[in-house]
Amino acid sequence: MTSNTDAVRRPRLPGHRPVARLSAAIAQPILTRVVRRIAERHPSLFARLGPHQKTDFIIDPIELPFALHLRPDPDALIFRAVPRDLAPVAGAAIRGRFMLLLELVDSEEDGDAAFFSRDLEVTGDTEAVVRLRNALDDVDGSIAEETADMFGAPGRAILARLRRSYPAN
Amino acid sequence: MAVTNMTKLTLGPIAYHWSADRRRDFYARIADEAPVDEVYLGEVICSKRAPFQEADLPTIIERLERAGKRVVLSSLAEVMLTRERKATADMAAMDSHEIEINNAAGLYARGKRPHRIGLFMNAYNEATIKWMADQGATHVVLPTELPAPAIAVATRVARDLGLDVEVQVFGRASLAVSARCYHARAHGRTKDNCQFVCEDDADGMPLTTSDDQPILRVNGIQTQSESYVDLLPEATRLVGDGVTHLRLMPQAVDMVAVAQVFRRTLDGDHELSEAEAELRRICGDTPFSNGFFYGEAGYRRIANVNRV
């Protein structure tokens, strides 16, 4: 299902497809490290996912050249960057601005409010999304900062720059 | 069939704001022709409607009793305003007739004197029913959304405690009540200046989804199912579980004919398939449902696997 958000706001630069593949490839090793670390530190997260540990989620930051594929299976964790045209058939998809998605992960932003205001779009299995949201919401502290910390000072600097470049609305 | 012969058919209180004339005619026919054993009277939904009925009530009671029906008076489901509190207290003080209580305010006023527990009292389980029996309840109407296994357990316990047990087997299910009047709202009015616009909808005001699916009925502060609950095919099972009273809710159809279909089926004078076809003819296009009984979505119609 294509989204309105998708069609209207996403920039379509010439040659976007090779760019998407390249950037996805560069992001991949970082993503793998990140998700393994988060999973190790927050095992209770998986219990809240219940039957949706095997669900394929597509997390789609509308302004990035690629989407993220998450399957939160503790035995075979997948978190990878995929060009949109190569994304698997997802059980559920979550679409929005990158910074909003980051804030949702960190509970800086309220998912219901973002959904009501149409900034966040949910398609597919609604229960899967609700479970993922509740699982992430039970994590204390900031996953974004934990991630940044993994890469030391440069990581924290990138996060800070990212946040500055996305002033609140 | 000896067991089902003992089963009583009841006529629940009219949920709608039928005119005084319509009510008089309705109960006159019920008295003369309907094979129901007990009739519940009284305004349960909206306290503003009650004054329209009070004048005729003694005549209607007398008429029904003369025809051999037992009359039970039902109390308001929602009690908040002074007039509602007073109406509830007045009814709880009554000794002339059995009363059916639909709000905890009524239980408070009634104390340990005998009473029936109405549809709105949430008597969902054996612990609550035991509590209610200890406080003087003699009869319990189980909530319409209770599924069959829970009905069986609740009924067994209630019967052991000496209570009669009643289940709604026909008519729209009450799905919700509110402080707000949705009939008034639909006409751009408030509850206080409603001008009794609910009188226009003798079988509830239909609500339809934006893609034309009929879904609910509005009756003043009450929201009802679009479908009529029909547990005719399940009646034998209910009776087998020990249910003593089967309730028919008055709808804007030929209720005498509805009662006759149920009575004949209970008495074994009617093949079920024939009876169902007859009920279908009486009720026109209104869908039938029994989903609650099977633990499924209430609007659904589940085929009775026991049917031969």
């Binding site: 989204s3 309105n4 804030e103 509970s107 800086e108 932003e109 219901d112 959904f115 009501f116 205001s117 779009e121 299995d125 609604t126 229960e127 993922l132 509740n134 919401d137 039970d138 994590v139 | 929602e78 009690v79 509602e84 509190r85 207290a89 305010a105 239980l107 408070y108 006023a109 949430n122 969902y124 389980n125 054996e126 612990a127 609550t128 509590w131 959304e145 069986a152 299910a173 799905l175 919700a176 509110s178 707000r180 949705y182 709202r185 408030t190 509850k191 005001m205 609500l207 339809t208 989804t209 934006s210 879904i215 609910l216 929201t223 609650f292 633990g295 499924e296 979505a297 209430g298 609007y299």
Partner: protein, 332 residues
Amino acid sequence: MSLAELICPAGTPAALRTAVDAGADAVYCGFQDATNARNFPGLNFTPDELAESVTYAHAKGAKVLLALNTYPPAGRVDLWRQAADTGARFGVDAFIVADMGVADYIARTHPGVRLHLSVQAAASSPEAIRYYCENFGVKRVVLPRILTIPEIRQIRKEIPCEIETFIFGNHGLMVEGRCSLTNYLTGQSTNLDGVCSPASDVEYVRHDDGSMSSQLAGFTIDCFGPDEKAGYPTICKGRYTAPHRQEGYYAFEEPISLNLSRLLPELIEAGVHAFKIEGRQRSKSYVRNVVKAFRAAVDDIRAGREANIADLVALTEGQKQTQGAFETKKWR
């Protein structure tokens, strides 16, 4: 002046800690099963999590109230009794109950633990409230969101227990504990299963013109234009047509939040003991912001200062808010 305790929601242990740290006087929560009215996927507490959470809250001087506010269907009463036993063992400060059988069990088995009467019991008159106080020793009633402030003031004079009112959050329209709308469409019951418009039956369908339908079990509850605010598909907030309303209208209520921040002083003056914030299903972010704002406002009012109401109003910014029945009975 009443104590004006702030009663805050927690759907997860992290949310509970957030609420306590933000200044909650008490936090209410429930187990991961049908024993409470927010039995939502991925939400709520395991027994171990509850034990840890009670320790955390108590160490910071906050109370934990355990919601056992659904109605057991016959044959399943033991689940509610075991939940009460578990809660009592961990030292919760009160049980929030609706069912008479559950109330009776707790009153007899755990007489040392306070009983609060849930809004799900729908006790909206002094007589109904007294019934629960006198029979089960109920210490506090959570009032239905259908009363005006003068009505609350009057009730306060006629009952022997404390009053808790909702001040913020989802605005339920139907008399709570008397609603089977969800069960009618989905087969899951609000009263028996603790479920309201379950996510498993919810689907959002996007149309080519940019509009979006929200569906529950295949029934279209609402359809939002491309620039319209969306809502969760609860049946009582859907748009339908009626014979003389062919254009489609909110037959029960618009998607709207309750926000009584402007009425706090009046509620305190009316004798309301505790203010309840709805939203166990909402995020930590919601809990943090709402609790902080109301904490500051209540502290200001209690100290005789002018409360900064603007912050509270901003919490529902962009969404519609209402004072519901509390301000005027014209709402009815």
